[in-house]
C-alpha cells in the first residue's frame, strides 16, 4: 500500500528503510526541505561537516570501516561540485556511497539559476550511476535503486539529484522491493570450470604467489576468512595492494608485505619470479605492475574479479574468473579440499628459501637517529604502542601514507582507510571522523602529513561538535615529501614549491579548534608522547617533527620492473637522481 508524502519526507523514509543511521552533510537553499524533515525526526543522525568535500570523505571512512553504505547530503551548485573529489575517490577505490544533492526547481533547470550546476552531467563520469529526479513519484524507487547500485557488484558512489520543487511535491512512497533490477545484475557466482582450472594450476605451481587487493575487503569479512583458510591450506606466500591491507594478517609468516612501487623487496621479487599468480580482487594498477612488459614475465595468471572490465585491462591473464571474491574462494576451497592435490613440496621449499633470501635484504630498514625522529621510526612506535588496541587507521596521501602502509601492520580487514586510486590529499581527517562515528569506542588515528592535513583541516571543528576523539598524527617534515622526493628523482633536486614556508603552529591550531595539541621532536621522548596522545580523552593533533629530507624506500622507479627496485639503505643521492630514465619521466 503506497503512502502519500512529500519528496523531502520520502528521502528520510527511504534512508530509514535502508537502515541508515548516520549521514554527513551541509545545508543550503536547494536542500532546505530535506533539512526541515531531518530536524523533525531522530532516527537518522546528521553530521554537519565544514565543507562538502569533508562529507564525502567522512562517508567513505564510515563505509570502509563498517561495510555499510556511506550517505552524504549536499546542496546544489557548489555543494555538488565540492562533492566531486570524494565521488571520484570512491569510484576509484570502489566505496559504496549514496550522495543526495539538492537541485534548483525543475522549471529553472537550464536557466543558469542561482547555485545551479549540471550535477548529473558533472558527476556522470565520477559515479557508478546517477539520477536527476523530475517526478516525485519516481523518487522513492530511485532512492532504493541507488542503494542497490551503490553496493551491488563492484561497489561505488551514486548521486541522486533532487530539484527543490520535487522535495516539496506530494507523491506515493514505495518501500524497498526485492524484485531484480532490470538491467544491472552483476555476476557473483563463478564459472565452475574456471574454478577447477584455477585449482589445477595452483596445485601444479612451483613458485606460486597470492596477490590480493581491495576487492577482498569489499566482498566482506567472510572473504578475508576464506582467503586466510585457502592461503594457509596451500602454504603459499601472499602479498597485497595498498587497498587490500588487513585482509590477510600481517603478523603471519606467509605474509610478504605490501607489493608495488613502495612495496617490499620480497613481495615484488616474488611477483616477478613466480610461475603462478593468483590475483584476488586486485586490478593490476600501474603502481603495482611497474613496467608492464617486464611484469611477472614467466607466470601464468589467475584473476578473480567481480568486474569483467578489470580482467585483461592492463595485464593479460590465463584464467579469468568473474565473480565475487567470497563465493569464488569458497568454491576454490571446496575443490582444493576434494582434490587434496599432491604438491611439489621440494619446489615450494626452494621457493620459500629464495623468498627468505629476499627477506634477508630487509628492504624496509632505514638508518635510525638519536637526534631526529625518523618518520619510519615514528610509525613503528605508533604501531607498537597501539597494536593491542581496537584501532582504525586513516591516512592522507604522500610519503607518510606509504610509511604507514609499510610500518603499520594490520591483522584485520576494514581497519585501514586510505585514498589509493585517486590519491586525495585531505582524505584522512574526514575519513577518520567517519570511522570514529562508526566505531565510537575505538582508537581512530589519521596518519597525516603537514601539507595534506591542511587540505581539510576545517573538519577538526566537526570532530569537536560530535565528541569524536580522533587523533591526527602528523609526520611533519615541512615538505610535500613525496613531491620533493620526485623532484629529487626527476628534476635535478630543484624543489619547486614543495616546501611550505609558513606552516601553522599545529599545537595552537589544535587548541584553536578545541583539540589538544602536542609536539614531539626527540626520539627519546616519542614513546611517552604517543602514550599521552592515546590517553588523552578528546581529539588530538600530534605534531611529530621528523627528519625533513627522508625518502620513502624501497621504490620501483617509474618505468622500471619489479626486479629493478631502489633499496633505501645504501642508495646514494646520485643513484636516486639517475634512477628514472627518459621513458619513465613522462609517467606519473
Amino acid at each position: 500500500m503506497a503512502r502519500t508524502m512529500t519528496g523531502a519526507e520520502m528521502v528520510l523514509e527511504a534512508l530509514k528503510d535502508q537502515g541508515v543511521e548516520h549521514i554527513f552533510g551541509y545545508p543550503g537553499g536547494a536542500v532546505l526541505p530535506i533539512y526541515d524533515e531531518l530536524f523533525q525526526q531522530d532516527k537518522v543522525k546528521h553530521i554537519l561537516v565544514r565543507q562538502e568535500g569533508g562529507a564525502l570523505h567522512a562517508a567513505e571512512g564510515y563505509a570502509r570501516s563498517s561495510g555499510k553504505v556511506g550517505v552524504a547530503l549536499v546542496t546544489s551548485g557548489p555543494g555538488a561540485t565540492n562533492a566531486v573529489t570524494g565521488l571520484t575517490d570512491a569510484l576509484m577505490d570502489s566505496i559504496p556511497l549514496v550522495c543526495i544533492t539538492g537541485q534548483v526547481p525543475t522549471h529553472l533547470i537550464g536557466n543558469d539559476a542561482f547555485q545551479e550546476c549540471d550535477t548529473v552531467g558533472i558527476t556522470r563520469p565520477c559515479t557508478k550511476h546517477n539520477w536527476l529526479v523530475k517526478n516525485v513519484n519516481d523518487l522513492a524507487r530511485i532512492l532504493h535503486e541507488a542503494f542497490y547500485i551503490a553496493k551491488a557488484g563492484r561497489p561505488g558512489p551514486v548521486v541522486v539529484d533532487i530539484p527543490k520543487d520535487v522535495q516539496f511535491a506530494t507523491g506515493n512512497y514505495v518501500g524497498p522491493s526485492n524484485i531484480a533490477h532490470k538491467t544491472y545484475k552483476p555476476r557473483v557466482k563463478p564459472d565452475q570450470t574456471a574454478v577447477r582450472d584455477a585449482v589445477d594450476l595452483m596445485a601444479r605451481a612451483k613458485k606460486p604467489v597470492f596477490y590480493t587487493g581491495g576487492g577482498v575487503i569489499n566482498s566482506g569479512p567472510k572473504a578475508s576468512q576464506l582467503l586466510r583458510e585457502l592461503v594457509r591450506l596451500t602454504g603459499y606466500p601472499i602479498t597485497s595492494t595498498l587497498m587490500g591491507l588487513g585482509a590477510y594478517p600481517a603478523s603471519d609468516k606467509q605474509w610478504l608485505g605490501m607489493l608495488g612501487m613502495h612495496g617490499t623487496y620480497e613481495a615484488n621479487l616474488a611477483m616477478h619470479d613466480c610461475d603462478v599468480m593468483v590475483a584476488v580482487g586486485a586490478r593490476f594498477d600501474d603502481r603495482i605492475t611497474g613496467r608492464l612488459d617486464a611484469f611477472a614475465p614467466n607466470s601464468l595468471k589467475i584473476q578473480i574479479d567481480i568486474d569483467p572490465s578489470s580482467i585483461n585491462k592492463n595485464v593479460k591473464v590465463d584464467i579469468p574468473i568473474v565473480g565475487d571474491v567470497a563465493y569464488t574462494l569458497e568454491d576454490m576451497l571446496r575443490v582444493w579440499k576434494s582434490k587434496a592435490p599432491q604438491l611439489d613440496k621440494a619446489a615450494h621449499k626452494s621457493w620459500w628459501k629464495q623468498i627468505d633470501g629476499w627477506r634477508a635484504k630487509k628492504s624496509l630498514s632505514y638508518k635510525n637517529s638519536n637526534d631526529v625522529i625518523m618518520p619510519q621510526y615514528a610509525i613503528e612506535r605508533l604501531f607498537a604502542l597501539t597494536k593491542d588496541r581496537d584501532s582504525y587507521i586513516t591516512t592522507e596521501v604522500g610519503q607518510h601514507q606509504m610509511w604507514a602502509a609499510q610500518f603499520y601492520h594490520f591483522d584485520e580487514p576494514n581497519r585501514w582507510m586510505t585514498s589509493g586510486g585517486l590519491g586525495t590529499m585531505g582524505y584522512g581527517l574526514p575519513a577518520a571522523i567517519g570511522a570514529q562515528l562508526a566505531h565510537p569506542k575505538s582508537l581512530v588515528i589519521d596518519i597525516a602529513g603537514d601539507a595534506s592535513i591542511l587540505m581539510n583541516i576545517q573538519e577538526a571543528s566537526t570532530a569537536v561538535q560530535y565528541d569524536l576523539p580522533v587523533k591526527v598524527f602528523i609526520l611533519n617534515n615541512q615538505y610535500m615529501g613525496m613531491v620533493r622526493q620526485w623532484q629529487q628523482l626527476l628534476h635535478g633536486n630543484r624543489l619547486s614549491h614543495s616546501y611550505t614556508e609558513s606552516l601553522p603552529d599545529f599545537v595552537k591550531l589544535a587548541e584553536a579548534y578545541g583539540w589538544t595539541g602536542m609536539r614531539c621532536d626527540d626520539p627519546a621522548e616519542l614513546d611517552d608522547a604517543i602514550r599521552a596522545m592515546i590517553e588523552t580523552k578528546g581529539p588530538v593533533i600530534f605534531d611529530c617533527r621528523v627528519a625533513t629530507l627522508a625518502n620513502c624506500f624501497p621504490m620501483i622507479p617509474s618505468g622500471k620492473a619489479h626486479n629493478e627496485m631502489l633499496l633505501g639503505e645504501d642508495v646514494s643521492d646520485e643513484e636516486v637522481e639517475n634512477a628514472i630514465g627518459a621513458e619513465g619521466k613522462v609517467l606519473v
Binding site: R124, D191, A194, L201, D293, L300, S309, V315, D318
Partner: protein, 184 residues
C-alpha cells in the same frame, strides 16, 4: 575461455608486439532514459576510444528500449575493454559485437547534393541509376540523391559524385542488425 591447456609462458603481449587495429560494429541495447547517450559517448571520450559512426533511436516504444549502433576502431584488446566498460553502465541491457560474430548487416542512408549542367548532369543521373539512388529533389541545376547501402557503397558513390559537382553530403551513420532468426 581459451584455457584448455595453460601455455608454458603467459601470453601477455608487451608493447613490442603491437596488435592490429580492427573496425567493429557494436550493437548496444539500452533503456531509453535521459542521459543514456551521454553516458555512452562520455565513456568513449573519457577512456580515449574512437567513434567512427554512431546512430541511436528508440526501437521498442512500449519497453522504452533504444538501440545504439557504434562503429569503433581499436586493437582486439581495446575492443574487448570497450564491450566490458559499456556493460558496466547501469541502463545497458546488452552489448553485441556484430562484426566479430560475423553476422552484421550494415546499412546507411545518405542524402547527396550534386549541382551541374550538361554532360556532367546526365552522367550524374546515369551513375545514380547504377547505385540505385533516388532523386528526391531537383532543379535544372541540381539533384539531391537518396542512396542506401553498405557504407563502402556510399563512399564509392560520393567519390564519383565529387567529380560531377558534389555540393554536400548528409549521412545517417550505420544501422546494423544480426542475420538469422534470433534477436541481436
Amino acid at each position: 575461455m581459451n584455457m584448455a591447456k595453460p601455455l608454458a609462458k603467459s601470453h601477455y603481449v608487451g608493447p613490442g608486439a603491437v596488435q592490429a587495429v580492427v573496425s567493429r560494429t557494436l550493437s548496444v541495447l539500452v533503456d531509453n532514459e535521459p542521459g543514456v547517450l551521454a553516458r555512452v559517448i562520455g565513456l568513449f571520450s573519457g577512456r580515449g576510444y574512437n567513434i567512427d559512426s554512431l546512430t541511436v533511436t528508440e526501437t521498442e516504444h512500449e519497453k522504452h528500449l533504444s538501440r545504439i549502433t557504434i562503429v569503433t576502431r581499436g586493437t582486439p584488446d581495446v575492443i574487448e575493454q570497450i564491450k566490458h566498460q559499456l556493460e558496466r553502465l547501469v541502463p545497458i541491457h546488452r552489448v553485441r559485437d556484430l562484426t566479430n560474430e560475423g553476422v552484421a548487416l550494415e546499412r546507411e542512408l545518405a542524402l547527396i547534393k550534386v549541382s551541374g549542367k550538361g554532360e556532367k548532369r546526365i552522367e550524374a543521373l546515369r551513375i545514380a541509376e547504377i547505385f540505385r539512388a533516388k532523386v528526391v529533389d531537383t532543379s535544372t541545376e541540381h539533384f539531391v540523391f537518396e542512396v542506401t547501402g553498405k557504407p563502402s557503397k556510399i563512399e564509392e558513390f560520393i567519390q564519383i559524385m565529387t567529380e560531377l559537382g558534389l555540393v554536400e553530403v548528409s549521412r545517417t551513420g550505420i544501422a546494423a542488425i544480426g542475420r538469422g532468426p534470433v534477436s541481436s
